[in-house]
């Protein structure tokens, strides 16, 4: 799985309440989550996420298990998320909804060009490469299928 885009930097311990606030959860409207993603961090960010790679600090996606956090990022057009470590529920959620994650410690430069390859296990920020922690074969399969729903559908 290959992806590329401009870098958007966010800090460490980015909790899912900040990715999508609790007040937007009572709906099934995915566009609404995309419109309010990161609102409490920077209200202008949601409109700038299309085609970007979000680079976060450690413990990305900690806190509430709300899958809407990963969905909001994907719906907003985020191509992938890179962080030195992810909180485990966010990690599973992102893979399950088909949002590529790269676990590797890169330093973020806002607007830099980012490329990543999950099969080969690396990410590059402005040409500077870091080696990613490999995903298990099953996780890669789920990602390749586009998430756990299509993965499950194909298997039946």
């Amino acid at each position: 799985m290959y992806g590329e885009g401009r870098a958007v930097c966010v800090g460490r311990d980015m909790d899912t309440d900040r990715i999508i606030a609790g007040r937007y959860l009572r709906t099934k409207d995915r566009a609404l989550w995309a419109a309010h993603v990161f609102e409490d961090l920077d209200p202008t960010l949601a409109n700038r996420l299309e085609g970007t790679v979000v680079i976060a600090g450690s413990n990305m996606g900690c806190g509430s298990s709300r899958e809407q956090a990963a969905i909001a990022l994907k719906e907003a057009g985020v191509v992938g998320v890179i962080a030195p470590t992810f909180a485990r529920i966010f990690f599973r959620n992102a893979i399950n909804i088909g949002l590529p994650l790269v676990e590797c410690p890169v330093s973020c430069k806002e607007g830099a060009w980012v490329r990543f390859n999950l099969e080969e296990g690396w990410a590059e920020v402005d040409g500077e490469r870091c080696i990613a922690r490999p995903l298990s074969p099953k996780m890669l399969e789920i990602l390749r299928a586009g998430g756990l729903v299509p993965y499950w559908r194909n298997r039946r």
Partner: protein, 406 residues
């Protein structure tokens, strides 16, 4: 020689295992998306309806008609498929499962991050998201990476006004918000025996605040006795020494009342450091501290006195409320000026029943103080019940005295 996670999941740390799930649950918050994913998977049948639970606790009763409609859909889904369905006012999912349902050695998976609470019984209990839960509904199982373990070795016993919540805040401070990421916590050592089930649930509950996948106590005499109260016979589990990847020692006798502030649950200091800080609201409840032992403690602090700020008390379950009524606790709290809410999550997630306004500060017995969680522009401080009670009486952060609570 194996950790409790290794024994229950059936593989050494670091390996991937497929396991059968004994109890799977979702609530009105996560159940909606789970149902969507389940239907999109073109699945019809829930594999194990008897082990599948839906609880309405997060925004229950519904706060507006959008919520009500989503809940109505989920309610009929649960009923049509014969799932264990628990409607509004019964209580918080994690508490209801602690009232004689979860047993030592089980694999418990919930679509809620605080599922780790149930590790207090010696079960492997962990949270997942909605799509993972949908796959569990469909297949009856899931995959895990068997976690490495951090042993938290407890010695001594709690003294003064310190309570199990202070232990929880202390280990989160030591580990940091991601210090236990991908790992399990095991609470071991001589100090464990003196912590009652209610306190163990409080400690296991906050494991996820350090990033942990699970927070477990080995089932012992206390566990077996507690379950016997619900008519269940269980057996104890014995820890193996030296199986953990890391050890953290905490002497319970050293603990003093603690408080988390600054929108970080690991920014923990002694209550004394913040004494005198004005507060606008006190909230006692949640899956961390809404149990009978907590309400009893609060009543002891407030008996015969009046609170100075609005104080919202939300029992963790209907049983908790009923017993608090029988024991005269409800009367004491009402006389002290508290508001008593409907059993459930209450204002914990900032959806209803006590949302904060711009610039307001709430001292809460919950587990999270993320920015804006209880309302845009509001701040949450986290403490024990004793600290919350003492502070409610003064309208400012106050160090509880041992004499107030014992």
């Amino acid at each position: 020689m194996a950790t409790l996670s290794e024994r229950i999941l059936g593989g050494p740390a670091g390996t991937y295992v497929d396991v059968r799930v004994d109890r799977a649950f979702a609530h009105d918050g996560t159940g909606v998306l789970t149902k969507e994913a389940f239907c999109e998977m073109h699945c019809e049948k829930i594999r194990d309806p008897q082990g599948t639970y839906i609880f309405f606790d997060h925004i229950a009763p519904a706060n507006n008609s959008t919520t009500a409609t989503l809940q109505a859909e989920l309610r009929s889904f649960a009923r049509a498929r014969g799932l264990n369905f628990t409607d509004i006012g019964e209580g918080i999912c994690h508490q209801l499962l602690a009232e004689g349902i979860v047993l030592p050695g089980e694999v418990v998976v919930g679509a809620d991050s605080h599922t780790c609470t149930l590790g207090a019984f010696g079960a492997f209990a962990t949270g997942v998201g909605a799509t993972d839960m949908a796959a569990i509904w469909a297949s009856g199982g899931t995959w895990f990476r068997v976690p490495e373990t951090i042993a938290i070795r407890l010695t001594g016993s709690l003294e003064g006004a310190a309570e199990p919540k202070d232990l929880a805040l202390a280990y989160v401070r030591e580990l940091g918000m991601d210090g236990a990421n991908y790992r399990a916590l095991e609470f071991v050592g001589d100090g464990v025996a003196g912590i009652p089930m209610a306190g163990r649930l409080t400690c296991s509950n906050m494991a996820v605040e350090a990033g942990a996948k699970a927070g477990m106590f080995y089932a012992d005499r206390e566990t077996v006795g507690y379950l016997a109260g619900f008519g269940i016979s269980a057996t104890t589990q014995e820890p193996d020494d030296g199986t953990s990847a890391r050890e953290l020692e905490i002497d319970l006798s050293d603990l003093t009342p603690l408080i988390a502030s600054g929108h970080r649950v690991d920014r923990v200091q002694e209550v004394r450091a913040l004494a005198g800080t004005p507060i606008d609201q006190v909230f006692v409840g949640t899956c961390t501290n809404g149990r009978l032992a907590d309400l009893e403690r609060l009543a002891r602090v407030l008996r015969g006195k009046k609170v100075k700020v609005r104080t919202i008390v939300v029992p963790a379950s209907r049983l908790t409320l009923a017993e608090a009524g029988r024991m005269g606790i409800v009367e004491t709290l009402l006389a002290a000026g508290c508001v008593i809410g409907i059993p459930g999550c209450g204002p914990c997630l900032g959806a209803h029943m006590g949302v904060l306004g711009e610039g307001e500060v709430c001292l809460s017995t919950a587990n999270r103080n993320f920015t804006n969680r209880m309302g845009v522009g509001g701040e949450i401080l986290l403490s024990s019940v004793a600290t919350a009670g003492a502070s409610a009486l003064r309208g400012e952060i106050t160090v509880p005295e041992a004499a107030d609570v014992r």
